[in-house]
């Protein structure tokens, strides 16, 4: 096992990793930008090094400075957390070239799964359903119509160079397909300097379901059941829960097994998440793998009674999985509510500033993961999440009630937060009856 780990991240997840290491008796080396100097969580690390100015590109994304901090800090491994360099295969490779273990998958697996087309191929190889679509680009109208006939309408015309919801046009039937195809290609040329487009079935009113997996370096892989992250706004998750409500048990088991097949086919190790879309007929389609620990990992920790960060470290240290599939329960219901310093009145713009007053929720069923405190100054340089409220109760109804009473207990002054929106979601019948789709929040508020 490692004696000393560097944490190449900041804020909530840096603190989360420090906590896991302290419980494992592992020393920690933190790195920080000048914007984070003096943050309380840095006091909890055994060492802390300033690696650059506030701008992430000059600090938390600066590979050479992180590696040399690891060298003077004399660590055996680096935990990247999420975001920043967590899914940067090059960084993972540089770490290992420097004889420092990267706590995550092999850079080869990371690189492969990071590539849309390659990941889709692996999924198909593993007999995991993907969103029906053209094999690669469609070059002619005839081809497009032929493919469209196979995958069926409605469908989406997607720019291969697009992403983040950009460069996408729906086609409801042959006529619109004909009309849109050229336009889409021209638009793609203009926007991305690449006219390439492909076709994909348009999944209507989908739910977002993802499966947490753990795989060791000895070929063993297990799933830790699924999470539902359907409550999102502009692809930003707001509320996550486990188990996924309104998902038939047989589908739950199929989707979880599919995720295990996929990561084994990809020779993936460490913690990871397979993301799926689930349509109104409970058909599921693989989207992508998140090759890192995720913000919402505590939801899975609560229902399975595991500590995913500790497992990540054990796996990276070469240990065999301690968990067998049959030994992993899914007890009760857990939910995570992300609390961001954002102004709902002002299109959810970030609200940097000092927290002048803070009262945290507590009591049974409540876990709160946060690096902030009264007097903490939220810097404008990084993401706006100031904390995660995690609740765990016997039933979904009790979990919702627990989350609401915990939010009632919370007081945050000095900055605007998403707490009011979270309450509205938790109280809305569409949520309590689990009838929502990924568009619900944007349509409703």
């Amino acid at each position: 096992m490692f004696q000393r780990i560097l944490i190449a991240n900041r804020g909530e997840i840096a603190l989360r990793i420090i906590r896991a290491c302290k419980e494992l008796g592992i020393e920690t080396v933190a790195v920080f930008s000048e914007a984070d100097r003096g943050a309380h969580y840095l006091e909890l690390a055994d060492e802390a090094y300033c690696i650059g100015p506030a701008s992430a590109s000059e600090s938390y994304l600066k590979i050479d400075r992180i590696i040399s901090a690891a060298e003077i800090g004399n660590v055996q491994a680096i935990h990247p957390g999420y975001g920043f360099l967590a899914e940067n295969a090059h960084f993972a490779e540089v770490c290992r070239d420097s004889q420092i273990e990267f706590i995550g998958p092999s850079h080869e697996a990371m690189a492969t799964l990071g590539d849309k087309v390659a990941a889709r191929k692996i999924a198909q190889e593993a007999k995991v359903p993907v969103v029906p679509g053209s094999q690669g680009l469609v070059t002619s109208e005839e081809e497009a119509l032929k493919v469209a006939a196979e995958i069926g309408y409605p469908l989406l015309i997607k720019a291969t160079a697009g992403g983040g919801g950009k460069g996408i046009r729906p086609a409801m039937n042959e006529i619109t397909l004909r009309a849109e195809l050229k336009a889409a290609s021209a638009e793609a040329e203009k926007a991305f300097k690449n006219p390439g487009v492909y076709l994909e079935r348009y999944i209507q009113k989908p739910r977002h379901v993802e499966v947490q997996i753990l795989a060791d370096q000895h070929g063993n892989a297990v799933h830790l059941w699924e999470r539902d992250c359907t409550m999102q706004r502009k692809h930003q998750k707001l509320v996550e829960e486990a188990p996924a409500p309104s998902l038939p048990q047989s589908v739950r088991e199929d989707i979880c097994k599919a995720a295990v097949r996929l990561v084994q086919t990809a020779n993936y190790s460490n913690a990871g998440t397979c993301e799926f879309l689930v349509d109104e007929d409970n058909q599921f389609y693989f989207i992508e793998v998140n090759a890192r620990i995720q913000v919402e990992h505590p939801v899975t920790e609560m229902v399975t009674g595991t500590d995913l960060i500790k497992e990540q470290i054990r796996i990276a240290a070469g240990e065999k999985l301690r968990l067998t599939q049959r030994s992993i329960p899914c007890n009760g219901c857990a939910m995570e509510i992300r609390i961001n310093a954002e102004d709902p009145e002002n299109d959810f713009r970030g609200c940097p500033g000092a927290i002048t007053k803070l009262r945290l929720p507590g009591g049974p069923g409540v876990r709160f993961d946060s690096h902030v405190y009264e007097g903490y100054r939220i810097s404008p340089y990084y993401d706006s999440m100031i904390g995660k409220l995690i609740v765990h109760r016997e039933s979904r109804a009790e979990a919702i009630a627990c989350a609401l009473r915990a939010l009632d207990e919370m007081v945050v002054e000095g900055v605007k937060t998403t707490i009011p929106l979270a309450k509205r979601i938790l109280e809305h019948s569409t949520f309590t009856e689990a009838r929502g789709d990924t568009g619900f929040v944007e349509r409703t508020w």
Binding site: Y49, A54, D64, R65, S68, I72, G353, A354, R377, S379
Partner: protein, 165 residues
Amino acid sequence: MANEANESFDLDKLQQLVEMMEKHDLREVKLSKGGQKWILRRGPQEVVQVPAAMNMMPPAAMPAAPAQAPAAPAAEAAEAPAADAGTIEIVSPTVGTFYSSPQPGDPPFVKVGDTVRADTVVCIVEAMKVFNQIPAEVSGTISKVLVNDGDPVEFGQALFLVKPE
């Protein structure tokens, strides 16, 4: 550090400023006030630079110690008083290992009393096997060497004190 706490209203000013910039989508703001100067830029590669103040940054505390410093955006360092009145600090541009001489056993690049020009190499900071020669970036006389050969140094940590010409 105590007087920073008292001057914390200045932090609020900076905060306001940053928010104002965001609100009105300003790309750049330059302020000079007394001896100090703030330059703030927003957008693609947003950076906060404090040229006049950069060399006046307080020595970045060693392990654990940074935690004692108050939380504050970079520009706050502008408030920090020079470790020694009338002197300027030469700070490390990166995190790494400090070497005072070109080779083990060699005489140091500079010692107290030496005069340096902006381009005088004063030490090496090794990061990832790369030996970065650090220029003085100021002309004057070395009045103090703040770290020892082989010490680990942080970004922004003071290495030398220089009495300017």
